[in-house]
């Protein structure tokens, strides 16, 4: 089905012809719904979870299936940075691109995340154009 929105379907289909699967992590129910909506309008399959812990559980089960992780920075128990570190430290998961989102523009936070291997750091509120840009670069 075609979308009437800004989503330009740039990210449709992996090499196996299937939909790319993105894992979205955010403790805010509102932001989870927004990011899922944006990703789905780009014809991506989305699983949205509310914590780093749940994200790691899912990655333990479906890692081969996940093409990208997009996570909020500030979450209770495990921050997006900590999740990023765990992913990059894992031999099985480290190839998965990780994008960090945050409502706060803190330069050394951004630097730290990028140095730790994040693909990109997006400022909230997230816009469809931000996601399109990241996806077309990350999900080739």
């Amino acid at each position: 089905m075609s979308s009437v929105g800004n989503g330009d379907g740039c990210c449709a289909g992996g090499s196996d012809g299937g939909q790319r699967h993105v894992l979205a992590v955010d403790d805010s129910s509102v932001d989870r719904a927004v990011i899922a909506g944006i990703l789905r309008s780009s014809k991506l399959r989305v699983t949205a979870v509310d914590s780093g812990k749940r994200a790691l559980e899912l990655l333990g089960l479906e890692k081969k299936d996940v093409s990208m992780i997009i996570t909020d920075y500030w979450m209770p128990e495990m921050t997006g940075f900590e999740l990023l570190k765990r992913v990059k430290e894992s031999s099985e998961l480290k190839e998965i691109p990780v994008v960090i989102m945050s409502s706060e523009n803190v330069p050394n936070r951004i630097t730290r995340c990028l140095e730790e291997g994040a693909e990109e750091f997006l400022l909230k509120p997230i816009r469809p154009s931000d996601v399109s840009r990241v996806c077309s670069r990350v999900l080739k």
Partner: protein, 151 residues
């Protein structure tokens, strides 16, 4: 009300919401994501916003009512409310949250209580406006018309 007037009313009402700063471009971004495969997207997101915000407002009341106020907690709640209001484009709520965070930083209890009152006011205002908007959309669709697109 006949379809034409409903649609005109919708256009006037929506334009005013943006003009008066209740909603900003982020709301428009969400509207643009709504399509046949996701026909209730905006309503779903806004409903989550209503649920989240009312919980946060209750928490804020409770936290500010303590003998010894935990400003870190207050700030965390306001941060969350600021985030979700920004995500749906509820501009006036977001702006009050920004002032609210300043009061938290200054550990100004009176200031915080004033901000709470203000944010509550702005929240219920935008809530009622959005509910009116959704009601108008429903009426237009029920009358067999399509909702005017203002972007």
């Amino acid at each position: 009300m006949e379809l034409g007037s409903l649609q005109r009313r919708y256009i006037d009402f929506t334009s005013a919401l943006f003009r008066e700063g209740f909603l900003d471009n982020q709301y428009t971004q969400l509207q643009q994501l709504q399509d046949e495969s996701n026909p209730e997207f905006v309503l779903e997101v806004v409903t989550l916003f209503f649920e989240d915000s009312e919980k946060l407002l209750d928490e804020l009341s409770r936290t500010l009512d303590q003998q010894v106020v935990d400003y870190k907690k207050v700030d965390a709640h306001v941060h969350q409310l600021k985030g979700s209001s920004a995500s749906i484009g509820a501009q006036r709520v977001k702006n009050v949250c920004m002032a609210f965070r300043n009061c938290c930083e200054e550990r100004n209890q009176e200031g915080c209580l004033r901000c709470l009152q203000q944010v509550r006011q702005e929240y219920f205002l935008v809530k009622s406006k959005l509910e009116t908007l959704f009601r108008l959309e429903k009426q237009i669709l029920a009358a067999g018309g399509s909702v005017p697109v203002l972007w």
